[in-house]
Symmetry: C2
Subunit: 233 residues, 2 copies
């Protein structure tokens, strides 16, 4: 495994591998918010020319995960704490809308997939694997949105979930407090409502779930002394 060149990926797969890998690292905070992203460096690392790297970075910029400063460096998008209220607002609305639609449009197969992801989530909680928990939680809600089948909502929600994943990762990595098993129960209720096609209940649980997450993030921020340092910049 000492090889830097791991067998040429098929034509056209260059951009997507760079894109997927970088996206994963940004969401995991392996790449710190605000840190510079060097094209030539990535070019060497992925063993490909700068062209596909650039195309991957453009996609990441469209996702809001990196920011491109013209003629200067590209940096990993900073976590914008001042904009959090807008994030909460959009997140809550999308939680509600996607869960509602899922209750309306879900197929039995989709409910199965959602239940499986909930199983994975429970496993991660049991294993106290925080990183995995956050990751699976994102896919769980994304899958619910998919069952709603409105691509406009799906796209925005995925973006919000990614942003939320970074945010949670940011605090979990430093706090290491008790894991929120509360979510497990809410997820169960959510799935049940979706399966019964009970739109109003689905909506209510979704709102409750969103509020819970907002409160959790807020409580982290209040306790976090680093925030002052961040804001001072």
């Amino acid at each position: 495994m000492g090889e830097t060149t791991q067998g040429k990926p098929r034509r056209g797969h260059g951009v997507s591998t760079a894109y997927e890998t970088l996206k994963g690292e940004i969401l995991e905070l392996t790449l710190a918010p605000g840190s510079p992203v060097d094209e030539s460096e990535l070019s060497k690392r992925f063993g490909m020319s700068r062209t596909p790297i650039r195309e991957a970075l453009i996609k990441l910029a469209n996702d809001g995960l990196v920011v491109t400063l013209p003629n200067r460096a590209t940096i990993v998008a900073p976590l914008d704490f001042l904009d959090l209220p807008n994030f909460y607002d959009a997140m809550t609305l999308m939680y509600r809308v996607t869960t509602r639609l899922a209750a309306q449009n879900r197929t039995d197969e989709e409910v199965q997939v959602i239940r499986k992801l909930q199983g994975d989530y429970a496993d991660a909680v049991a294993a106290k694997n925080v990183s995995r928990m956050i990751e699976v939680n994102r896919f769980f809600h994304s899958q619910i949105a998919k069952a709603g089948k409105n691509r406009y909502y799906i796209d925005l929600f995925d973006r919000l979930l990614d942003e939320g994943r970074r945010l949670l990762r940011f605090y979990y990595s430093s706090f290491n407090d008790e894991l929120p098993e509360v979510y497990l129960d809410e997820h169960e209720q959510m799935i049940d409502a979706i399966e019964r096609c009970d739109v109003e209940t689905a909506d209510r649980i979704a709102k409750q779930h969103a509020d819970q997450i907002v409160r959790q993030i807020q409580s982290y921020i209040v306790d976090d002394r680093r925030l002052n340092a961040e804001l001072a910049i």
Copy 2:
């Protein structure tokens, strides 16, 4: 003005000019939905290498305005009539949310800008300039969203407004029926509500306005015989 090379644009402006120009042509239906977009052709046309053209196309793909078929052509995104219900749903929700937020967060300066755009819109209606009308209408609502100051909603709404602009252009170009002066009045009421910070009224007018547009598009579709030909493909 017979020059094909119109003086080299400054470094970094290559991508944006190609992007803006193509976006405008796609929204105006100068480039027909489904028609192929050739990189070398554009390269010659804009007097630049294929690299900036490609980067512009990637951005357009992220906007959902072109579709890239791997290793084959890029085409202008087709108008997806089967997905219209989802479009209506998202459009209506975003109309409401952005107008509500505008009523909450607007500054006096922003109201002035909105009023100015409404003036432009009225001019276009008076001049019976359909193309201009559709264009200004898009900027009018986009400006309202900006006054709401939630970037997540702004981005989705802009995308929906663009999609709507193509849709309206598609029908106006063929029907040429009476211009909807009804919208003028609704716009006025909308601005007033925003200026008074009357959130609930703003919401109500927004919903009413969205429903009006949906009805209009629907009535076009019912009357349109081309639709069968389109769907038959």
